[in-house]
């Protein structure tokens, strides 16, 4: 029973961390310009 408690808590924590990271990336605008981001990789720019 203790094993289950630990495992469930760990699974929930992992899931929530992943969710938090996804929501953060969403909030920081990483999905705002898919067309532009696809092309930006082609720009030769050392300081960017």
């Amino acid at each position: 029973m203790n094993g289950i408690a630990v495992l469930v808590a760990a699974a929930l924590a992992f899931g929530l961390v992943a969710l938090a990271i996804l929501l953060w990336s969403l909030g920081s605008g990483q999905y705002d310009d898919p067309d532009g981001d696809a092309l930006r990789i082609l720009i030769d720019d050392a300081d960017d």
């Binding site: 289950i4 969710l19 996804l22 969403l26 705002d32 310009d33 532009g36 092309l39 720019d45």
Partner: protein, 723 residues
């Protein structure tokens, strides 16, 4: 006047576009023409190099350049000038609020999707354990798992399914049912039933079904949203480009640049050649103007002093002064925008296939559920069992597959059309396109290329060369067409342009004139699409111009007819050119000299006869007809208002995509109906199973997932098959 025209445009007051935060100012600029990595680098570096600018970022998806800098708001003008000097069109972006709203909607949907995805995985982990290990599990462990599942799935589902609840509520307020009513009911009921079963230590719960349902449906909803958003972004961009800047004389007689929205009645506006008017007004000088936005015809018209010029006209001759008689919002262009809005509203009355299915579906499912309840009670079962089975019927018949079916098909269809150069603005436009039985084409700019072209082949090369030397000095479309026909070459020196008449050059003591019949002393009836050329006292030579048909116009008409559509042509042009174009394109039914109102009236008449009309047009004179038609397509060269009014926009010069779009739309409709049939078949099996109380959560989940998968796979067939 000439000196004024040559002077650079003075800085405009752009403060209403500039946002301030501390000592940091920022502005959003709509940029048109940027398409590649190079463009991004060029624009961002060019703007960043300006003193004070610390951030410049171009969003290629929305076409917006965001710039932030330290210092005065005036820099906004310099930034726009810099982007223009790099070779792109740039305008301050006014409609920031509207854009932000949609932007937030998209992010909110993604957030809900993320939460639902997380919830699905987590809850499935818990319930799968019960399904497969249930026999080895103590009742206490099972209850713990269910409580954990409830703790995650109840808040996650309620949060993620909010769009469905909101839409169902709105629909119920109007005393109607849409797809979201059974969806919302199924989600709430399965959560409620599962909580009840958890409390009563029952062996089955549906927490996983509720959250998985929400997750799958949100995918469909997000597909639908991106489809709409992608298209509306282009439309909003056009609107932003209409926020024109104007130059007016202030009290002391100096020119100042103001936003078009700030122009007042009575303002004297200075217009150089090539500038577009933002308001209706009266001319204080004679000039040539391109009224194509108003009339749809591209040949410029000479306007005398005192003539009324409508908003949207472009000055082609001498610089002039216009006295404003209306503000921007009461000018012609704004009137048209309102007309379009009215058209959009009537179009909103169209009921989507999915919602039409829902209207038949909801009463059926509700009565089936009630029948099950009554039957179980009649057979002497206790209330809890009877209600559980009745609710199970509602849950398992939830139109999950339907919610995914239509957006999946439409996303595949629009994606495929996009590759072929057709930009579809909304999913229901495809549904409407599949129903059309009459296609109406505009002539100028739609069936034809819309730009005049020299048609006389028997003009001696040296005469053409001599005339082209003059023509190269002018912006007049006919002169340009002449210059194009002659190719590159020298320009005559000392060319003088007389507005409304023509060009004159005095070289080697011989006067050369290029212009209309009177200007060159020809004694023939003046015709709009011809130029005369005279050297000294020689008899004048005539150059005739025609509007060339698009290369694939005839093929398109044939293809549409072979798909069973009746094709007509309506044009504002005269009979003779209309007859010629119609013959070449193979159109038997056509009308010439049709006013914009008559075009719309013709469509209304066809509608009254029960026809579904597809309108293809490009000019502002077509905008009313485009909005009136069942579905409409505008070529990419169309004016902004027409692109706004149309449901689909073509890229490139070809017209054949119209026929392709009809084909894809019909195929999509067949697939949607197939998907409905698949979903119906699934219910045929599911309802009896649920009615006899045999549904376990495992069966529910398997059926839901498999039917969604089946429907999506069926949609993907559209991407594979030929046109």
């Amino acid at each position: 006047m000439a000196a004024l025209a040559a002077a650079p445009a003075p800085a405009a007051d752009l403060s209403r576009y500039v946002r301030h935060r501390g000592d940091c100012a920022s502005v959003e600029i709509a940029v048109r023409g940027a398409r590649c990595a190079n463009c991004i680098a060029k624009i961002e570096r060019g703007v960043s190099a300006l003193a004070g600018v610390h951030e410049a970022r171009l969003n290629l998806s929305t076409g917006k350049l965001s710039v932030a800098w330290h210092g005065h708001a005036d820099l906004a003008w310099t930034i726009i000038e810099r982007v223009k000097s790099l070779g792109y069109e740039a305008f301050p972006f006014g409609a920031a609020e509207a854009l932000d709203d949609t932007h937030m909607e998209g992010r909110a949907l993604l957030r809900r999707l993320a939460v639902a995805g997380f919830g699905t995985v987590f809850v499935m982990g818990l319930t799968d354990a019960v399904w497969y290990g249930g026999s080895d599990m103590t009742a206490a462990t099972r209850d713990l798992f269910y409580w954990l599942a409830a703790a995650v799935s109840v808040p996650a589902t309620l949060y993620a399914a909010m769009p469905f609840f909101a839409s169902a509520y709105k629909s119920l307020l109007k005393r109607q049912t849409n797809m979201d009513v059974p969806i919302g009911a199924a989600i709430l009921l399965s959560l409620g039933l599962s909580l009840y079963q958890t409390v009563t230590h029952a062996s089955h719960t549906y927490f996983d079904a509720a959250i998985m349902l929400t997750f799958l449906l949100l995918i469909g909803r997000y597909l639908d949203f991106s489809l709409r958003n992608h298209a509306q972004g282009a439309a909003r961009h056009l609107l932003a480009l209409q926020s024109i800047l104007s130059r007016r004389f202030d009290f002391s007689g100096n020119l100042e640049t103001v936003a078009a929205a700030d122009l007042a009645t009575g303002d004297r506006i200075f217009l150089a050649a090539g500038e577009r008017t933002a308001v209706d007004g009266v001319l204080e000088d004679a000039t040539d103007a391109d009224l194509s936005l108003v009339t749809g015809e591209s040949v410029p018209v000479t306007l005398p002093k005192g003539a009324v010029m409508r908003a949207g006209s472009v000055i082609m001759g001498r610089p002039c002064v216009l006295r404003a008689t209306a503000r921007v919002e009461s000018s012609l262009v704004a009137d048209l925008a309102r007309l379009l809005e009215a058209g959009q509203q009537t179009r909103n009355l169209y009921v989507r296939l999915a919602d039409r299915a829902a209207r038949a579906y909801v009463p059926f499912v509700a009565s089936a559920s009630l029948a099950v309840l009554a039957a179980w009670l009649a057979m002497g079962a206790d209330l809890a069992t009877s209600v559980t089975n009745a609710v199970a019927v509602l849950i398992i018949t939830c139109p999950c597959a339907l919610g995914l079916a239509v957006p999946a098909v439409q996303t595949v269809a629009t994606g495929r059309l996009f590759e072929r150069g057709v930009f579809v603005k909304s999913g229901d436009a495809l549904e409407r396109l599949a129903q059309v039985d009459v296609a109406i084409f505009d002539k100028t700019g739609t069936l034809t290329l819309g730009t005049p072209e020299l048609v006389d082949a028997d003009i001696p090369r040296d005469v053409l060369e001599a005339a082209a030397k003059l023509a190269r000095a002018s912006r007049h479309p006919l002169a340009r067409a002449l210059a194009k026909a002659a190719g590159t070459g020298p320009v005559a020196s000392g060319v003088r342009e007389e507005a409304g008449s023509g060009l004159e050059a005095k070289g080697d003591g011989v006067t050369e004139r290029l212009g209309n019949a009177t200007w060159c002393g020809a004694r023939e009836v003046a015709h709009a699409s011809e130029l005369w050329f005279r050297t000294g006292d020689n008899p004048p030579v005539r150059f005739s111009f025609g509007d060339r048909l698009r290369a694939d116009s005839a093929d398109t008409v044939r293809a549409l007819e072979s798909r069973g559509l009746a094709v007509e042509m309506l044009t504002g042009d005269a009979e003779a050119p209309a007859a010629m174009s119609a013959k070449k394109a193979g159109i038997a039914h056509w009308l010439a000299r049709v006013t914009p109102t008559e075009k719309a009236a013709r469509i209304a008449a066809l509608k009254a006869q029960g026809h579904r009309v597809l309108m293809i047009g490009d000019g502002i004179n077509d905008a009313g007809a485009l909005a009136q038609a069942h579905v409409s397509i505008a070529p990419g060269s169309a004016v902004g208002v027409s692109q706004l009014a149309a449901d689909m926009i073509l890229r490139g010069d070809a017209l054949f995509q119209v026929a392709e779009a009809v084909g894809v739309a019909r195929k999509a409709r067949v697939l949607v109906l197939e998907n409905f049939a698949l979903a119906g078949l699934y219910n045929l099996i599911a309802i009896p199973v649920a009615a006899f109380g045999l549904v376990t959560p495992l069966i529910a989940a398997a059926m839901m997932a498999s039917s969604s998968l089946l429907v999506t796979l069926n949609a993907l067939r559209l991407a594979r098959t030929g046109p």
